[in-house]
Point group: C2
Chain length 333, copies 2
């Protein structure tokens, strides 16, 4: 195993130390339990927006804490749900009196722990609502999931929900934005290589030199099928067909396209893939209203990509375009 | 070879198609010969800033075209200098009457081709100056270089030079900024894995499972030494000592730290490394005034990192903080 780390035990704590050393203008980092909050939290009268999940998916979620996006994030161990005590402390730290929304990716451990944290916070008098993302069309149930997995939509949802909260929308309104984005978003991913969890010390799965996995999860959980490696055009078609047919997306729709790298994918390849996605959508009369291209929800050093589409309307476009200032995503300020 | 491409021959053109499909609000892309210019070029009365180099280092340079950074970039084939005709056409396209600055990384092919392009442009009545970056302290001469290689400083220099040009500084002033940043900047990199050039179809070099290369170049050219893989703390010390002692950087200095990923490095590892760099600088009384953390000058899917330090002053800090709006780097707008 080759990694730029000190030890498998230290990787999350060391990265958090790096985060606070780099971004103390934007965030505060608490340890024992670990959570990250925006520097000016709690913002009075604003809905607090909290997410969290296993580490190894950076910049998600900690890199999205800041003005216009998340108020807090709870990093678990690598590929492991954070614990309810982390979520409870973070919820309390960002409670500005208007309630707190939990954004939860649909993995069984995350869902259970966030439910427990919400109950504990409610017992302390904080109004908490939750939304569970489940945008991955690859598989119905999965290794760690009942129902579909929550993947790329989570990043886009955190941006738009954060913008709504920043404008002092109510908890009910903020939750409605989250539910709309999740309902109108679909994703699918693929891998050329495995990743290696530091504690495990060896690749999560074996993928022969001539094979790729279509429909992979963000923890290396199995997808739909293994195939001989194919061209970017063929791969784009394989990922786009299930996405487009599932909602379905139709001619005349405006969409946000998120071309995501899995962590070990060079940017030049994401642009090659984006070109193929653009060609497919042009052929169907679907208009790309906005795009995001880069590695924002990752699986350590895995090579591969995922595609997420969200059907947009004027309200969502305004929320997407609103200023954001986080370590991982920034514009307008 | 596993890559998200259609063919080795098509990768650069396909990625350029993706760039224009994604960023037509920021850039225009010309083909035959290939070059990228900002959407509003030429900007009258402004010095035009042009860079270029082999592809495979994305987002550098094409991803840095836009307001506040480059006016144009010329992408060559992967790891291959662009040609003088590309550079000449780009120079003409961004000539707003105040002259054009060429930013050239010190590789023999790039230097010769940019010199020829400058001569051709001057023959057409355009005032052209050039600055050559040579910030890599790893080796004196290299496989493709007489003198030191130009690496990470190039990204930071393009940002600060672009800001000076945006403020309508003269060609002489803009060139002086470039020379200052290069003179006050030092870099060193390392690799955990090789990369594979699409045309070659196999890794550029063999690096055994327990070895790393210290002082690697951005094309996989040899560095200083091969060693057994070490901890992040040890690697940071190995990269920082030659950087700090070369200028030298001293207690009381303000520096910009650029913690760069080589393309296949997960962000969590860059934060672990940044923490170690921060500890080393704290110990020496050197203040990190600004930082940039991410994969901005890459070597395809190579795993590894490079560290760049630039000694900053009030003038450079203002240029660094100025608004920038490019596909790869954006803030303030």
């Amino acid at each position: 195993m080759k990694k730029l780390i000190n030890s498998p035990e230290a990787v999350v704590d060391d990265a958090l130390k790096g985060m606070i050393a780099a971004h103390s203008d934007l965030i505060k980092v608490y340890t024992n339990p670990n959570y990250i909050v925006r520097a000016d939290a709690p913002v009075k009268g604003k809905v607090g927006v909290l997410s969290g999940g296993g580490s190894g998916h950076e910049p998600m979620h900690g890199g999205f804490v800041g003005m216009g996006m998340l108020d807090a994030a709870c990093p678990g161990a690598v590929f492991t749900s954070p614990t309810p005590d982390q979520m409870l402390e973070a919820t309390k730290a960002i409670n500005g009196g208007a309630g707190v929304l939990h954004i939860v990716k649909n993995y069984t451990g995350d869902v259970l722990n966030f439910e427990m944290a919400a109950d504990l916070a409610r017992a302390e008098g904080i109004e908490v609502e939750a939304v569970v993302t489940d945008d991955d069309v690859a598989v119905q149930d999965s290794l760690y999931t009942a129902g579909r997995r929550g993947v790329g939509v989570t990043v886009l949802l955190e941006k738009m929900v954060g913008a709504a909260a920043e404008k002092k929308a109510s908890l009910k309104e903020v939750k409605a934005v989250a539910e709309k984005v999740n309902a109108q978003g679909r994703s699918m991913g693929m891998a050329l290589t495995s990743c290696t969890v530091p504690h495990a010390g060896k690749p999560t799965f074996d993928l022969p030199e001539d094979q790729m996995e279509i429909g992979i999860g963000i923890h290396g959980e199995p997808g739909r099928k293994r195939l001989h490696v194919a061209s970017a055009k063929e791969i784009a078609a394989m990922l786009m067909e299930p996405i487009l047919s599932d909602l379905p997306y139709k001619s005349g729709d405006d969409v946000l396209v998120f071309m995501n790298g899995m962590g070990g994918t060079p940017l030049i390849e994401l642009y090659v893939m984006y070109n193929e996605v653009n060609e497919i959508l042009k052929g169907k009369g679907i208009k790309i209203a906005r795009n995001l291209i880069g590695s924002y929800i990752t699986s350590l050093e895995m090579q591969g990509c995922s595609i997420t589409l969200v059907k947009m309307d004027d309200h969502l476009l305004k929320l997407w375009d609103a200023p954001v200032k986080t370590p991982g995503l920034r514009w307008g300020v």
